[in-house]
Every structure is written in C-alpha cells, then in structure tokens.
C-alpha cells in the first residue's frame, strides 16, 4: 500500500514539475537557433518577478508555428488541458516587448494543440533573440508621469464634481 502511494505522489510531482524542468531560462541576452520536431514544442522561462524588468524577444521560424506568451497558470492549462488562456499569441515571426511582473513562459509550438493556429507539417527551424534588462530611467519616468497624470485627473475630477454638486448659498448668489 505504501509503495502505491509513493509511486502516485512521485508521478504527480513529476507531472507538476515537468514544465519547469523542460523550460530554458532566459536571463540577460539570449540567442539560440534550433529545430522543433513535428508535434513538439519548446518552452522558455522568463523570470520577471523582480519589478522593473523589460523583455524584448523576437522569434522567427521557417514554417508557421504558434507562439504563446503564458503565465505559470496558463502554462499548466496549456500542458494539461484542451483549453487554455494566454497573454499573447502569434504565428511565424513574433516580437514581444513585455513589461509584466511575474513568471512568464514563451512557448514555440509545432504541435496541433488547438483547432485554430498553425498546422504542424514537419520539423521547424527557429531562432530566438531575447534580451531581458532592467527598466531604464526613461521608462521609469514615463511610468511615473503616467501615474502623475492619472492622479492629477482624479483630483481634478473630484474637485470638479464637488464644485458641480455643491449648492451655493443664496447670499453668495446675491452678491
């Protein structure tokens, strides 16, 4: 009985750990050319858990394949269920400029996992050029400016709403 439980837990662990094991980590500058066999896929892990990371990635393929940018949860759905959500999707050549925070997975898929998307007809050569860098001062300023503009608009909206709905006293009107 114990042996059965041990094998069961080992199997579950192996299934859950498999995406992480098969994924290639992208850190800093990364360039790779490879071949994906028919009905297969490759996974790249991009660790953007530290805030302020920017990912620039360009993937080109010799034949139509599916590119998915997935979160950890979406990757599990991709691996183990028919339906899955994704952050971004494209075929052939794709370029991402990504600023999310968290763990992301870039999947280059040469398998027919969904009804729509590229059909797999044979091995596909692909090239991935990726750059994971810290957010520059310009981007930080742009983000700060965006927050500042939004904050100012909210304050103006609140002040105007207060002005609009406040009834002036008759003495003020008759001045």
């Amino acid at each position: 009985m114990r042996a059965k439980w041990f094998i069961f837990i080992l199997g579950i662990t192996a299934i859950l750990a498999s995406p992480a094991i098969s994924a290639t980590e992208i850190t800093g500058d990364y360039r790779h050319t490879g071949t994906i066999p028919q009905d297969d896929f490759v996974i790249y892990h991009i660790n953007m858990t530290k805030p302020g990371k920017i990912l620039d990635v360009t993937v080109t393929a010799s034949d139509p394949v599916d590119f998915y940018l997935l979160t950890e949860k979406e990757l599990s759905q991709y691996m183990f269920s028919d339906a899955f959500a994704y952050e971004d999707y494209s075929e052939n050549t794709t370029t991402y400029h990504w600023r999310g925070t968290g763990d992301y997975y870039l999947v280059i898929d040469n398998a027919n996992v969904s009804v729509s998307g590229a059909m797999s007809h044979g091995p596909v050569n692909y090239t991935i050029v990726a750059k994971l860098e810290d957010k520059g001062i310009y981007d930080t300023l742009v983000d700060s400016a965006a927050y500042l503009v939004c904050g100012t608009l909210i304050v103006i909206a609140a002040a105007t709403t207060f002005w609009l709905y406040k009834k002036p006293k008759i003495e003020e009107v008759l001045k």
């Binding site: 608009l153 103006i156 909206a157 105007t160 709403t161 002005w163 609009l164 709905y165 009834k167 002036p168 008759i170 009107v173 008759l174």
Partner: protein
C-alpha cells in the same frame, strides 16, 4: 478607442424671487431664481467647470429666462431664507 464626452448640467432652485412680467405668458408674476452649473465631462466624469448661469423661472408658465445680472437693478428681491428643493 471610443471617448464619451459631453456637458453635465446641474440646476439649483432658490426661494429668492422677483416680481416681473413674464416674457412668455405676459403675466406679472413671481420669477424664482435658478442657478445652473455646467461642467465638461469625459466618460461622464466632470473634469472642467464651464461656469454658472442664472435663470428666472416663471411661477405661472414655468418658462425660463436667462439673466446676466441677478438681482436686477430695478426689481425687488424677496427671499424667505428657506431654500427650495432642487
């Protein structure tokens, strides 16, 4: 991207009135003061105040007359102090 914009108007009624001849019905009746505030809205949120306008509302026919100066110089203004509902 669709942007909804427009002008939001808010009316305030007062118990202050002047007695004058109504331009519409011609009767010599009370004309109550009404204040209208206007603001430019984006996505129904007021962002830019567009000023305040004063109107006189005829007690008989409810017609509205825009006035630039209130109280008018040649008219008597009576205000009970208690404010009317908007």
């Amino acid at each position: 991207m669709i942007v909804f914009f427009g002008i939001k108007k808010k009316n305030f009624a007062y118990n202050a009135y002047t007695v004058m001849q109504c331009p519409k019905c011609g009767k010599e009746t009370k004309h109550y003061l009404m204040l209208q505030k206007r603001a430019f809205t984006v996505f129904f949120i007021p962002l830019i105040p567009l000023g305040t306008r004063k109107y006189l509302v005829c007690e008989e026919c409810r017609s509205v007359t825009k006035v630039s100066n209130f109280p008018p110089k040649d008219r008597v203004i009576i205000s009970t102090g208690a404010e009317r509902k908007d």
